[in-house]
Symmetry: none
Subunit: 210 residues, 4 copies
DNA sequence: CATGAATGAGGCTTCATTCAT
DNA sequence: AATGAATGAAGCCTCATTCAT
């Protein structure tokens, strides 16, 4: 079956290997580039970083957005997987909290990708409906579980939690943003009615202004 | 005898009128443009929208930042004034809450200006120290007063409140964002320890996902 | 079977033809333009003259200097070749003289290119070390040979000979400059100690002022 | 007399003082600027340096060239005066030599002005005929005197001496150019037939290449 | 007279995208 | 299927010059 075909009609599908390799190289390069410069990456640069020609990039991603979306898919995939895992193994409110902290970590590790992810938080009418929806369902499920325990009383749109956190993260050069974001997670949970003892107060009395 | 014309029409110093008009047109155009695209506005577009030549823009604002800063000055001025007013006339925690809601209104009325304001929330090492500092001191004072009453217990960096709110606002096309933001204000205040009765629950049980 | 067309026209790799044609058009246009305005050519003009888009110019010469250097390479190449030839076939002092006269011819044929070449005479710390060095070594070798015969006594930096000649040439619109330059060659050689009979006095008593 | 005028008809001519002051400030500023950047000065910069408005510059020098010419007039004036002085007090050939060395000094002290002066050496069909002619007559007279003594035999166009020297000077960043230029003066004089003993060999055997 | 404002034009550079091979 | 070349459009900025006051 490896053998392409002896006849004149090409039957093998081997070129796919090259194509697939190029595709993932492109996505990886785009991810890195977006981490540095946000979603305004130069496509030429992505192609160069990926080691392919610009025309090849266009073959794989005929519209600029297609490439961006591909990056999002990757990123969101990881977040969703983590959420599934946490929900399976933790008490709901804890799972929510852990996931939000994970989200903070995630933003931290991607420095700048935050801006890109921000796009996904804009809601479903954007160009990236698919990833956007996956992410939304993911937080939604976490919040729904937590509220089902009766331990979260105040209502809020789940995505808004991520938006608020993202708001802090998007001011990238702010050195201490991660601590701020982690505190915000707890303020939000408290505000939603979570027990105070859930939230270990790890960092007392921060300064008021940076 | 200095005054050449006795009538109401001043004849002596009118050229300034043109310049001033152009200047404010430029700032207005920049504000609008920034509402759409954030601080990365194309200067050429601003000039075009303002109906002046690009060179005129450069005469008024020789460095790009000067224009941005001018926009910020305007915006921040209004916010600071409102804060002073509220602090003078309201109980501290209420003043804080009212101001945050005002901030939401403000972002709403500026649609997208949020991103521009976001720049100011990045902290003092940015290029726009002046406006940035003014805004920071402003929230700072409000939060300090509120905490001084003993009615706010949990600590958070004041600017982070704005950042969180801004996070929700920055997803401009989201139709319902204002309601979300207003709810976030209360969630945040509750999370900071404010009395539940302070926060009239005007909006019960919102949907979960947009 | 690979070759679609049996005729002499190669079919397989033609795109290069376009690129090469554009490249040489660009260099030619640049040479002409530099002849008029020196190395401060407007790149836009070069592109326009060459009949290609400005972006194409940038593809071939991503840095302005790359284009200039390309022009220099061409010009210097010809001069060096001539020097090698003369040294191989002439008595040293004669070779030097002939080459200097050739240099004059050269400047003459390039009208204004002189200014561009002037850049090369500035010495090795300039941006165009490569061409610069090649030219310097070239004159150096000629002068060294001539001095080795003992027939040139006074010392001078070889490049200064070219600089002096270039000084006369750089006043392009001066109609008679070539005669002046040729006379200068002999004055210089005499000043360096060459035998008077080497220098056939072809041009007696020129006018004093143009 | 401070008082402008009591009657309706302005009678005083005081504004001339201002005008004259502005004019010389402009010329001075232009000279400095040209020393730094050659003749491509930005007129705005000149006006700014001179402390007057750009429009005032235009009132004094309606065409860009008028300003340049004014600068030339100044510079050439100094050189001509020196020549007159030397001719009056020195033996002709010595006077010529001294003046050429002075010319070298002059170029040295003006670093960059050299380019500007270069313009004057281009000959009479340029835009700056007046200064150009004055300079030409000046060298002419020096050379004529020297040749009249019979001690200069070979002929050359007087201006070409300056052009050759200027050729060396115009390569400004070349650290050692002044020594080169001084040596060239002697090579030229020797080449023209001057006695070797006139030319004190102050600097034996320089290196060949920089 | 002098001024500051305004402008048109031009140069530089980068990019997303299309095309011929 | 992949490539390198080419392009138009757009952004940035600076300048010489004109105009209204």
């Amino acid at each position: 079956m490896e053998r392409p075909s002896p006849g004149p009609t090409p039957s093998g599908r081997r070129p796919r290997a090259d194509a697939a390799r190029n595709r993932s190289r492109l996505v990886a390069a785009a991810r890195n580039a977006m981490a540095a410069d946000g979603a305004n990456v130069s496509l030429e640069r992505v192609a160069r970083d990926a080691g392919v020609s610009i025309a090849t990039l266009y073959r794989h991603f005929p519209q600029r957005d297609a490439l961006i979306e591909a990056v999002y898919q990757d990123e969101v995939g990881a977040l969703v997987a983590a959420a599934d895992d946490l929900r399976a193994r933790q008490e709901p409110v804890v799972a929510l909290r852990e996931w939000l902290l994970l989200f903070v970590d995630f933003l931290d590790s991607k420095q700048g990708m935050s801006e890109a992810l921000g796009t996904l938080l804009q809601g479903p009418d954007a160009l990236f409906r698919d990833s956007s929806d996956r992410l939304a369902s993911c937080v939604d499920a976490l919040v729904r579980s937590a509220r089902a325990t009766g331990r979260l009383t105040t209502a809020i749109q789940p995505l808004d939690l991520l938006r608020a956190i993202g708001g802090i993260a998007s001011v990238s050069p702010n050195v201490d943003w991660k601590a701020s974001a982690e505190r915000l997670v707890d303020v939000l949970l408290l505000g939603l009615g979570a027990d105070a003892d859930l939230v270990a107060d790890r960092s007392p009395h921060p300064g008021t202004t940076p």
